[in-house]
């Protein structure tokens, strides 16, 4: 297992270097690239031009420049943003990356969970009206143009029903008199969620160790989850930060919903197909013949095996979800990496744009790694 993870890590590092190279050379090949932009002014004397190029290291050969750039990226020295001068790019990214991570992880978990269970049930009980309804909805949301979906959401929830905030990361009126930043609250939120997640994971592991009975395991897992979430909610409720945390979460609902809807259908449709295939397998007949209850055959045997292609599909669709994410963040004014990337590109803020691109890439590659590890846990055939 460790060997496998190590191998994947090295592969990902290589991919990352290639990715950075592509970004670097694209920036240089672009008409109106950095060099042209810095020396555009016709009033510059040749000496001044030389001096500028020298100061930015642009007089060196492209390879030397690339290696320097690579070194800088790995030491998080991404330069200074033009549009937020003089804030270093890394500081901006460090602030915004967590927001994107939270948005995506939540949306992904929600859509995966719902897509997985609905695809599973649809395949198990075929030919019902619900199957056709769900499939049609699935195909529609799968093919829908993301901005259109967002406009529909904004119109429906924000304007027509008027119950949801439609832009901003938070409600400015509420935060006017506070002496802490939104970022602090946000990081606390993230910390809480990670702690609850860790507690759930630990409970899962403990349950597996302690008992071999599915019922006992479930009881352990659900009680631990309930206790840790109750504890978290209680902490936020009594702390003075509670209302601010709630404000951020409330603003997150629509963006999460959008990303979840966009990626839900893929999971659901693939799960349904995969499940229909798995049901035909002989080991399902064996499981039935063993006299296991219908639910156990469905969940423990069919769904557990059928989910493997769903995970593979998820990895493949990650790029699609990220591009959907850029649009989602921008349209909901969710100040994460997607919106940063778009604004920096539009504002010709090269250091920030390339930094945002690189870190979006790192995020995606890292997500790949996580999914790969999960996959290896789920499929013993790859583990060795």
């Amino acid at each position: 297992m460790l060997k496998y993870v190590g191998k994947r890590l090295i592969q990902i590092l290589i991919l990352l270097v290639i990715y950075i190279a592509v970004i670097f050379f694209l920036l240089h090949a672009m008409p109106g690239g950095i060099k042209a932009m810095l020396t555009m002014n016709p009033n510059l004397t040749p000496q001044a031009r030389e001096a500028i190029l020298h100061a930015f290291g642009l007089d060196k050969s492209l390879w030397i420049q690339f290696l320097t750039y690579l070194k800088n990226v790995f030491t998080l020295n991404l330069g200074i943003s033009f549009s937020f001068y003089p804030t270093p790019v890394w500081n901006i990214i460090a602030e915004r990356l967590p927001r994107t991570i939270l948005l995506f992880t939540t949306a992904t978990l929600v859509s995966f969970f719902i897509g997985f269970s609905s695809g599973k049930s649809l395949a198990w009980k075929r030919g019902k009206a619900s199957e056709y309804v769900a499939t049609v909805i699935g195909v529609i949301t799968y093919t829908v143009f993301t901005p259109l979906l967002i406009f529909v959401f904004i119109w429906f929830f924000g304007a027509y029903l008027g119950i949801m905030p439609i832009n901003q990361f938070l409600n400015p009126d509420l935060w006017l008199k506070t002496n802490f930043t939104a970022q602090t609250i946000f990081l606390y939120l993230l910390l809480t969620i990670s702690l609850v997640g860790a507690a759930m994971l630990a409970a899962f592991a403990v349950a597996r160790k302690v008992s071999h009975k599915v019922k006992t395991r479930k009881i352990i897992f659900y009680t631990a989850t309930a206790i840790s979430s109750a504890f978290a909610v209680f902490w936020w409720a009594v702390s003075p930060y509670g209302i601010y945390g709630a404000d951020i979460l409330w603003h997150m609902v629509l963006p999460v919903l959008t990303v979840a809807v966009v990626s839900y259908a893929g999971t659901m449709l693939v799960m349904r197909d995969s499940m229909l295939e798995t049901i035909k397998e002989d080991f399902i007949t064996t499981a039935r013949a063993k006299g296991l209850p219908d639910k156990v055959v469905r969940d423990k045997h069919a769904a557990r095996t059928a989910m493997l292609p769903v995970i593979t599909n998820f990895v493949l669709s990650m790029g699609f979800v990220v591009s959907g994410g850029v649009i989602t963040e921008s349209l909901f004014s969710w100040p994460g990496m997607g919106m940063t990337l778009l604004n920096a590109t539009l504002g010709k803020d090269y250091p920030l744009a390339s930094g945002a691109l690189i870190f979006t890439g790192i995020f995606v590659l890292f997500a790949h790694l996580v999914v790969d590890i999960i996959y290896a846990f789920l499929d013993p055939r790859i583990r060795y």
Partner: protein, 329 residues
Amino acid sequence: MSAVLEVKDLKMYYSTKQGMVKAADGISFTVNQGESMGLVGESGCGKTSVSMSIMRLLAENAKIVGGQILFKGQDIVKLKEEEMNKIRWAGIAMIFQAAMNSLNPVYRVGDQIIEAILAHEPDVTFEEARERVAELYKLVGLDPKRMDNYPHEYSGGMKQRAVIAMSLACNPDLIIADEPTTALDVIVQDMILKELSKIQKKLNMSMIYISHDIAVIAEVAEKIAIMYSGKIVELSDAVTIFKKPAHPYTVGLMSSFPSIHGEKKKLVTIPGEPPNLLNAPDHCRFAPRCPFATKECWEKTPPYEEIEPNHYVACFHPQNLRKQVSING
């Protein structure tokens, strides 16, 4: 000797777009405590359909339209799914035709056997179940250490043995072995079958061996049922079937398969097409391929009758055949 399984006039049909496939059309037989029966017939004659009916694991388009399946006197055709689940594996276990794919690839082999034990015997602890699996592994000739391996780490023969161990896990009264060794080479096949037969005798279980190869069945079954096109055409003890076969199809089957321990016989295949079960005809289904068919055979279905004690045949002219065989032999 009490009957463990009595199948009475079982009819199981598949409905397809082209019409009814009568895969089991009036099947009757009895398996007694400790007895082993062979069910033999060409590919597609409905052997698996019969065993799946007994397990009540039918395809969506399949339906038991008539007859009874009495397991220890209780008709399981009418049982509710939950009640049937109690009989599955604890009462009737099965070794599937596709034993290679009978194991779930994502779980350890041992755990899949333990799962069956715990499902039927909730009082057994996990450790006790593990011990039982270790015993079973020894019984079928597997190293108990391999329990914690996954199916892909097993060879075909090992999977086969593991599947046999699994079928024994809950001490069933009856095991149905549907071509348990087809995917293996002849030597391993022979060995595993013999071991299976030994275990069956040792534990005094009842067994139904299913195969298209009468020579394989002859080694292990005390009683043999010959199936043709959804019907049993001849049934008797193994000796009678070999010494005095009464149905022309039985004779055809015996000459179409070389014996494993071979004084080399000439390989004669049964002439004509294997039957189509779709919209099966009203006359004797073997008539188109039968060298002895008369006008009668083309008009009516021959009754399934006991022509001598414990020797059942569905043929209008079993005597004809006897004469023929004795002249030739």
